[in-house]
């Protein structure tokens, strides 16, 4: 069998394995486990696309919460029926075309992604005029502006009240289906010539330009693709928790994604996936420190904020002592494993 054949078979096997795990939990898993798995899928989508900008292009973009918010609102407004909308918008009615439009979930996700990418396009000019810390603060600013707008535009977002009672369309198939799709597309992109151009910008922008790479074009490309998938992820998130409001999309959300990609290893897609899985699982596991603990003879009160303390400490420890995160710039790939195996075999064959 050729290498390509082997890899194809391995990929199919991996997908089958994932399929059976999801099938098992879908049928027999407790709501608790299903929720964690859903979170994992969505976080993988978000982290992998966030990492495209932060890890591969090497610019610190702090506004994914804006894209997620836009995707979440767009997709929710499209799946709600006109009647549900009327019941939600009690202070001020929803403005016209939105009040009557309705779309199936799949289409609404795409619209969410497109809306987020459109917004990314609008802000790209000021964002990519600057670099480094300035870029970080400008994107953070846009994230904040979007949150303020969500709060203030009563007739579009229902303001601080948010949208309630969304249909819980998001299930394991959706969250993981999109995660796998995002993963495949992003991995293909970063391993392509376009991805190499992005990494070149990250490693040395003046040299990349001197080799004919147009930085704005490639940063924009990464930014738009990242925004699109963040928007789709936002739509999934909205239809998982079924209630959204501006408080959900603060800088805090960005901070969580930042932890995921830093711990996983900036610039490693495998790392982003690992980080997302650890975060979704660890975040739940650590809930115990925030809820009251019953020791039998006495009850310790839960400590709100403790999880975030731990997360911030982890983030700082990783960035200071393990700057490259778990994976560094390395990637898990079949090639890597097969190479290892072949070397082992060759060694064994030697007398």
């Amino acid at each position: 069998m050729t290498r390509d054949r082997v890899k194809l078979v391995l990929n199919i096997l991996a997908l089958l394995l994932l399929f059976s795990i999801l099938y098992f939990f879908d049928r027999y898993g407790s709501p608790y486990h299903v929720r964690i798995l859903n979170n994992m899928g969505i976080f993988i989508t978000l982290a992998v696309s966030y990492n495209l900008v932060n890890g591969y292009c090497g610019v610190l973009h702090l506004g994914p919460n804006a894209f997620i918010a836009i995707g979440a609102y767009t997709s929710s407004l499209l799946t709600m029926s006109p009647l549900e909308k009327q019941m939600n918008f009690i202070i001020e009615p929803l403005m016209w075309p939105l009040s009557v439009l309705q779309a199936p979930f799949s289409l609404s996700l795409i619209c969410g992604g497109v809306a987020a990418a459109l917004f990314a396009f609008l802000i790209s000019f000021p964002v990519f005029r600057v670099r480094g810390d300035y870029l970080a603060i400008v994107t953070l600013g846009f994230g904040e502006v979007v949150r303020v707008l969500c709060n203030a535009s009563q007739s579009v977002t229902n303001g601080p009240l948010g949208l309630k009672g969304l249909t819980p369309h998001t299930n394991l198939w959706w969250s993981w289906g999109i995660a796998v799709l995002t993963l495949i597309l992003v991995v293909r992109l970063v391993n392509s010539s376009y991805g190499r151009a992005m990494k070149a910008i990250r490693d040395n922008e003046p040299a990349a330009m001197a080799m004919g790479v147009n930085p704005f074009r490639h940063l924009l490309m990464a930014f738009l693709i990242s925004a699109f998938f963040c928007g789709v992820g936002g739509g999934l998130l909205a239809h998982l928790i079924t209630t959204i409001s501006p408080t959900l999309f603060t800088f805090f959300l960005t901070f969580n994604l930042l932890i995921i990609v830093v711990v996983g290893g900036l610039g490693s897609t495998t790392g982003a996936v690992l980080g997302a899985i650890l975060f979704a699982w660890g975040g739940e596991a650590l809930r115990v420190v925030e809820s009251p603990m019953n020791l039998g003879f006495m009850t310790l009160p839960g400590i709100p904020g403790m999880r975030m303390v731990l997360f911030s400490v982890i983030l700082m420890l990783v960035i200071i002592f393990m700057r490259r995160g778990i994976m560094g710039h390395r990637e898990f790939s079949w090639d890597w494993i097969l190479d290892k195996l072949q070397r082992k075999e060759a060694e064994l064959k030697k007398p």
């Binding site: 600057v130 810390d133 953070l140 904040e144 997360f311 983030l315």
Partner: protein, 297 residues
């Protein structure tokens, strides 16, 4: 709008602006030396406010002892912050430094949440600052008048240190070039520590006045003043101390006067600063008083 209200708003704006300016100085000083947005700077305001509250409540110290103690403690925290979060990353890519700063900021906020709890605490305003006087028929809280005066005094003191003392000279040298400074026989880490100390004490002074102005102290109170002060520093020209104060005034005046003239915009108030930031970066990235942004390599 009557002229009395306008006058009142103007005083109000000047005092808010000077607060932004005071906090902005710390950002600008640290940025000048490390090329780092010290994200945790805003949280020093919160720290100072809590220290003052607990000093006042747990001891018999009057405010004129507890306030300086809080300022000193914050200065020391600033040094510790640099030591723990930034110094190990001196040779790391800037992106790592910034991430560490964001982590430090979240850590401070959530530690405060864990230790003190999320319920806002009232900040006891000392009577000296609490009086109301009547000036040209307008009733004004003295705090609003003291704030800009204190800011100007602190600014002059700082300028004296930076331009007239040996430490200041070393700080200016370090902001140009680490290597040369080191070759001149100066301990760069000590200079950086001094910078953090000075910037943090100013942030603490700002924090105390902020807490007197909005006497509800909570673990996240530093976030917005911090962000806005940073923007003020950029508007004024990052790295430039006087520019930071001017930027602070511009931001404070803009924020309050726009809302005073166009009340419909009140709910967008928190976005105003970012709009200014984006405009400045688009049309005059070096700020009002700044030199060109260069990458110190």
């Amino acid at each position: 709008m009557t002229s009395t209200i306008f006058f009142q708003q103007l005083i109000n704006a000047i005092s808010l602006g000077s607060l932004y300016g005071l906090v902005a100085i710390g950002y600008t000083m640290v940025y000048g030396i490390l090329r780092l947005i010290n994200f945790a700077h805003g949280d020093l305001l919160m720290f100072a406010a809590y220290v003052a509250i607990y000093m006042g409540a747990l001891t018999v110290f009057p405010w004129y002892l507890s306030f300086p103690a809080a300022i000193l403690a914050t200065g020391i925290l600033g040094i510790l912050l640099d030591r723990a979060a930034y110094r190990p990353l001196r040779d790391a890519p800037r992106i790592s430094l910034l991430i560490s700063a964001i982590g430090a900021s979240f850590l401070m906020q959530n530690l405060a949440l864990v230790i003190i709890g999320g319920v806002p605490k009232a900040f006891p305003r000392p009577e000296v600052f609490d009086r109301v006087i009547t000036l040209f028929d307008v009733r004004i809280q003295v705090l609003a008048i003291y704030t800009p005066i204190i800011t100007i005094i602190l600014l002059l003191g700082l300028l004296f240190i930076v331009y007239r003392t040996k430490v200041g000279k070393a700080m200016r040298a370090a902001s140009k070039d680490f290597e040369t400074t080191r070759l001149m026989g100066i301990n760069v880490n000590a200079v950086i520590a001094m910078t953090f100390f000075l910037g943090s004490t100013l942030a603490a002074a700002g924090g105390l006045m902020w807490a007197m102005r909005f006497p509800q102290v909570n673990p996240f109170m530093g976030v917005f003043p911090g962000l806005k002060a940073f923007i003020a520093a950029v508007v004024g020209g990052i790295g430039n101390i006087v520019g930071a104060v001017i930027g602070g005034f511009i931001l404070g005046l803009g924020e309050i006067l726009i809302v005073a003239f166009v009340p419909q915009l009140a709910q967008y108030r928190d976005a105003f600063a970012f709009v200014i930031l984006i405009l400045v970066l688009l049309f005059r990235p070096t700020g009002i008083m700044g030199e060109p942004i260069t990458d110190k390599s």
